[in-house]
């Protein structure tokens, strides 16, 4: 009986060691470190195999883009508030439809702008990495809700 238990314990120890090795081999330490620091540029560099030159170009693109969407989004929020006011006041149908259309148009402009930006970023990467990058970010951009903070969980629909 003691040999049975001893053998089971030895196998369990071996299994734990094997599991740990399997875990370590499949771990992405660089990604984990970038997440822990919240360093998105480091994430881009490691996850999409960017060279220093590519990373500098991506950083430059991001800096030039910063603020571009801000004005769009401010207009969206204003248009949304105006639409809400019309709805609350039970305003006339034509005005409400126009307010709706304006919100939708502005949302499309803002999302389109961000989509163009990320496509430019993807173009700086290798084709395979670029495809992977777009597959990660585009679905989340599509799920932005400009009336509130976006829910960035993949697969969530507003």
């Amino acid at each position: 009986m003691k040999y049975l238990l001893g053998t089971v314990a030895a196998i369990a120890l071996l299994a734990v060691s094997t599991g740990f090795v399997g875990y370590r081999l499949s771990c992405d330490d660089a990604l984990h470190a970038a997440v822990a620091k919240g360093d998105t540029m480091e994430w881009l560099r490691t996850d999409f195999h960017l060279t220093e030159t590519q990373l500098a170009e991506v950083r430059k693109l991001h800096e030039s883009y910063a603020g571009t969407c801000e004005e769009h989004c401010r207009l969206i929020q204003e248009a949304t508030r105006a639409r809400s006011a019309l709805e609350a006041a039970h305003g006339d149908r034509v005005a409400l439809d126009a307010a709706n259309a304006k919100v939708q148009t502005l949302r499309a402009i803002c999302e389109g702008s961000l989509t163009v930006h990320v496509r430019k970023v993807a173009a700086l990467m290798s084709p395979e990495d670029g495809r992977r990058y777009l597959a990660l970010v585009l679905p989340r951009i599509a799920s932005f809700d400009h009336g509130a903070a976006p829910d960035l969980r993949l697969g969530h629909s507003n």
Partner: protein
């Protein structure tokens, strides 16, 4: 004279040469040998493992396979979660409106 003396000896030799023993297979042979020399099979740990080698080999292979798969799956799951979190942070960084909402 010589031939009469050699004949029985040759006959014995031929008989011995022709003699073949084909005992029936005894499944308890090994166990009985151990018993006769005063030890039970599996009296030591290595002997116990040897006595159950097939079963323990399968158990080791199965345990290692399941453990390796599980360890790898946990790591992949963690990587997916990490990536999802960093993508969210990244997109929040890209959109100043979101920053304004999240950092009033």
């Amino acid at each position: 004279m010589n031939s009469s003396l050699n004949s029985p000896r040759d006959s014995l030799s031929e008989t011995l040469h022709a003699w073949q023993v084909t005992p029936p297979a005894d499944p308890n042979f090994r166990q009985e040998v151990w018993q006769r020399i005063g030890k039970q099979p599996g009296a030591t740990w290595p002997a116990y493992v040897r006595a159950h080698m097939a079963a323990w080999s399968m158990a080791v292979a199965l345990a290692m396979g399941v453990a390796a798969f599980t360890g790898s799956a946990v790591a992949r799951s963690q990587t997916r979660a990490d990536r999802s979190a960093i993508v969210a942070t990244y997109l929040v960084d890209l959109d100043p409106r979101v920053q304004a909402v999240l950092k009033p």
